[in-house]
């Protein structure tokens, strides 16, 4: 094997320029593959992060809906087993009963969840629909009463807070963080007081302590954050009044199962992140497929380059192949020599490609990228995952192996007699 490698290297050296061209072809395709996927996935993570960072893995809530069992059903049971068509209770225009949209037993549920091993964090939330009164006009808004410190710890609240400190919101009484879009509309400055009217008509004054920006304009025009106590006071509700419980899990993929489990166990509605944000996964998948497709096409093109160069080399080296065979090298040895040639080109080009790809990623990572919509981003995002490097190298080796195999096989089948007699 050592000898065959020796011969392969010598043949490569003799055709240095062609070999370099082939290796550079592989290098470029690998570099582009790595850069493309790193960049694409960096963007994916950024865009997904916009939503996923802010979204609980499982959200428990109580939806106001018509009860399934109406009083008449208790008196007269519908029976559909009878052969004559059975009997039914038909009630039209059923309305939900007057009920608060709160989670019953929220404190108890939270206690149970806190003790669950699969759960990373539990945070309550109280969502209130409000009107902001500016002069004579009203703007609709939603005030999210949150446990500020938990939001900071588990939902990257601070990343989206473009002005102000989370602590001011957590500690202050009657303080609010406005969505950037909403604040611009109201021309509210930090320290200003804004007047809020709740759905039941109660009015309060809240002090603006910060701005909040997610990059999703519609969201930023409506959503505001406040301390949960402030919102409870705003709505004139007791301290155990929550509308949602947000659960963050250790393992994102278990969300659908756990959502079902929590729903039946606590008798509440539960929605998991996969169901709530299905479109984001789809978008990422499609972008990934496109980048993989482009990358693989690049590698295949490089493979054709190697195939061509090896084929030419074999025609030029027919004499050498004949003499190697005449002096006792068998077909397999010859095939191995040319396969080695191809793999050397693949390995050298592959390693060069990884280095070049990493350099390109670094360069892209340092290009300034400032956008209104993404306050926390200053340069183009790159995902440096090792997996792209591994995929690129394995695929490069595979392509060069395949590209080398056919010419190598042809070389192994060269009939030395034909070559030697043909002179």
């Amino acid at each position: 094997m050592r000898l065959l490698l020796d011969i392969a290297v010598t043949l490569l050296r003799a055709k240095l320029r062609q070999s370099i061209v082939a290796a550079v072809g592989v290098m470029f395709s690998i570099a582009m593959f790595v850069t493309l996927l790193g960049f694409m996935n960096g963007l994916n993570q950024l865009l997904d992060g916009l939503v996923l960072d802010r979204t609980p893995h499982v959200r428990l809530y109580n939806e106001l809906k018509v009860s399934e069992q109406q009083p008449i059903d208790l008196v007269h049971r519908p029976d559909t087993t009878m052969t004559d068509g059975g009997s039914y209770n038909i009630i039209r225009s059923v309305k939900p009963k007057d009920e608060l949209p709160r989670l019953r037993n929220a404190t108890a549920i939270m206690d149970v969840l806190e003790k669950d091993d699969r759960v990373l964090a539990v945070s309550p939330r109280l969502v209130a629909q409000v009107l902001f009164n500016i002069g004579t006009t009203d703007l609709t808004g939603v005030v999210n009463g949150v446990d500020v410190m938990k939001e900071v710890q588990y939902y990257k609240f601070k990343d989206y807070l473009v002005k102000g400190e989370p602590y001011d919101l957590a500690a202050g009484n009657n303080t609010i963080v406005l969505g950037k879009g909403l604040a611009d509309l109201m021309e509210a400055k930090i320290g200003d007081l804004v007047q809020v009217t709740t759905a039941t008509g109660d009015r309060s004054m809240l002090r603006v302590v910060g701005y909040f920006q997610t990059g999703v304009a519609d969201y930023d025009k409506v959503q505001c954050y406040a301390n949960i106590k402030t919102v409870q006071k705003l709505l004139a509700r007791p301290g155990s009044y929550y509308t949602d419980i947000n659960v963050k899990l250790h393992d994102l993929t278990t969300a659908p199962t756990l959502a079902r489990e929590f729903a039946s166990r606590f008798g509440v509605q539960a929605v998991d992140i996969q169901t709530a944000n299905a479109q984001f996964e789809t978008g990422s998948d499609v972008r990934n497929i496109i980048s993989y497709a482009v990358g693989i096409v690049l590698l295949v093109v490089a493979g054709f380059g190697i195939y061509n160069i090896l084929n030419m080399m074999i025609y030029e080296k027919l004499d050498a192949i004949a003499i190697l065979k005449a002096t006792g090298f068998n077909g397999r040895d010859v095939q191995r020599i040319f396969l080695l040639l191809s793999i050397i080109i693949g390995v050298v080009g592959g390693i060069g490609g990884l280095i070049f790809g990493f350099t390109l990623q670094k360069i892209i990572d340092n290009i300034p990228f400032n956008t209104e919509a993404l306050p926390t981003v200053t340069t183009y995002p790159i995902d440096y995952s090792i997996q792209y490097y591994i995929i690129a190298v394995s695929f490069a080796l595979l392509t060069t192996w395949v590209a080398g195999w056919f010419p190598a096989r042809k070389a192994s089948q060269v009939d030395p007699v034909e070559i030697i007699r043909g002179k």
Binding site: I7, L11, A14, D319, L324, A326, G328, N330, V417, I420
Partner: protein, 226 residues
């Protein structure tokens, strides 16, 4: 059979099928003993080169039996045949057929390294000895394309001898050389046969050279005539 036969063929028939089927070899039988210097002569197209390539085991498309050092080759695999060539047969062709990418020394070493019976250092030493013996030791480190035609043919002979083969085969080994160089090459062959007790089989159309060998096999129209 009195002496040990290095190479034997029995009733070899060979056909070319393109463009029409022609029988090129007709019931050829011959044997070569150890240390014998044999030449095959005949008119162009009489099948002498074709016979040589069958004897060399490179051409396997024939009928009949070929034994090298007593081993029948008819059923042998291609890999086994390659090994046989490597170990027991040396070749010198009309054209030198050196690998231009390698140095003279490395060219000589390649079959030895392939055989793998000796270490690289030993093979290198042996190759150097062969080259010195053929008086081209000083050219050893040059590229194979940098030396003259006569020198190249001597390198090819050194390469043929590196594994101490039982038999060296030559297809018009002097055909491409001027008379002075062809004399030198022929002398070397004779010396190899006498001093090293190697068998030699040489295809040539040069009657004068043929006469200087131990035995002449004359071929005509695919048959051995004498």
């Amino acid at each position: 059979m009195e002496a040990k036969m290095v190479l034997e063929v029995e009733k070899v028939n060979k056909y070319f099928h393109d463009p029409v089927t022609i029988q090129v070899l007709k019931d050829v039988s011959l044997s070569i003993a150890k240390g014998e210097f044999v030449s095959i002569t005949g008119k162009s197209g009489c099948g002498k080169s074709t016979l040589l390539y069958i004897l060399s085991t490179m051409d396997t498309d024939y009928e009949g039996e070929l034994r090298i050092d007593g081993e029948p080759t008819r059923q042998a695999t291609k890999a086994r045949l390659a090994h046989l060539r490597n170990e027991k047969i040396g070749f010198v062709f009309q054209f030198h057929y050196l690998l231009n990418e390698f140095s003279v020394l490395h060219n000589v070493m390649l079959p030895g390294l392939k055989l793998g019976k000796k270490s690289k250092a030993e093979v290198e030493h042996d190759a150097m000895e062969r080259l010195k013996e053929l008086e081209i030791g000083d050219q050893a480190l040059k590229g194979a394309h940098q030396i003259s035609g006569g020198q190249k043919q001597r390198v090819a002979i050194a390469r043929a001898m590196i594994n101490d083969p039982l038999i060296i085969m030559g297809d018009e080994p002097t055909g491409n050389l001027d008379s002075r160089n062809s004399d030198i090459v022929f002398d070397i062959f004779q010396r190899i046969a006498q001093e090293h007790q190697r068998s030699l089989l040489m295809v040539t159309h040069d009657e004068d050279l043929a006469k200087r060998t131990d035995r002449i096999i004359e071929m005509d129209d695919g048959r051995v005539v004498s």
